[in-house]
């Protein structure tokens, strides 16, 4: 493998995406506050976007498709963050905590 051509090899991007995904999953499992989990979720979204972009760049016949999909993902991520944060704030108002352990009681 020519090191100088590394940025033009699809595998590199796919591995970076896999790393992002793994970090995201790890964070999702280990984080114990809702906002932390939200951040980890964003990482997973990013991993997916990166995958789409890499595949789009190297293997897709129409290079616009992947970009559009990623745009959609961004839109969904933005919507998700807005909703998730409002839920988190509402939860915080009621429980004075956003730690997932404290929320397992499921009673108001």
């Amino acid at each position: 493998m020519n090191l100088l051509q590394i940025h033009q090899r699809p595998g590199v991007y796919l591995v970076v995406a896999a790393v992002l995904l793994a970090i995201g999953v790890y964070g999702l499992i280990r984080r114990r506050t809702l906002i932390g989990m939200l951040i980890a979720g964003e990482l997973i979204f990013s991993a997916a976007s990166l995958n789409f972009m890499a595949v789009n760049r190297f293997f897709a016949p129409d290079p616009a498709v992947g970009q559009i999909v990623v745009l959609f993902i961004m839109g969904l991520a933005a919507a998700e963050v807005a909703i998730a944060l409002s839920v988190i704030i509402a939860v915080y108002r009621n429980y004075r905590s956003i730690h997932s352990n404290d929320l397992s009681e499921l009673k108001g």
Binding site: L14, A18, V25, G27, I35, A64, A78, L85
Partner: protein, 177 residues
Amino acid sequence: MSTFPFQDAILVAIFALVVGVTIGGALIAALSTRIIRGVSGLMLCCMGLGGLYYFLNSPFLALMEILIYVGAVCVTIVFGVMLSEPDEPAHEESRRHAVLWGGAALLVSLVILGGVAHLGLRGPWQEPAARVSDGSVQAIGLALLTTYSLPFELISIVLLVAILGALVIARSGRTKE
């Protein structure tokens, strides 16, 4: 772009930097106990991602990534951090417990990493026969308003509903205005 000495080397160095920023940011985002640093990590990661998109021939998406993730998502998350208790407390579970669960989480993520990386590297990828469009902003815009107009509209509705929902949920607890 005219060629110049060490062009490739410089490009690779920049690429390595971008990848480093992406993964480093992601690590900060996932591992730091202070949420505000986690958000900063996410911001770094997104800027790195923007760089990666640029390397993938899509400056448009690179900029959109920065605009939406840094300018909107991260800012919203920081706002959320400000409104609620921000930091994770020290682990109250026992050390063995922590090691166990941490190890399990690490294992799961490593398995995922291995699996996906394997698929990515060994997958039967095929080069496309011919390119349909040039992937420029015009092409994206055209596709958005023709082929993908329905998802496009759906996304707008989702966003609208999300905004309204967020408003309703966030305001419901508030008594005074």
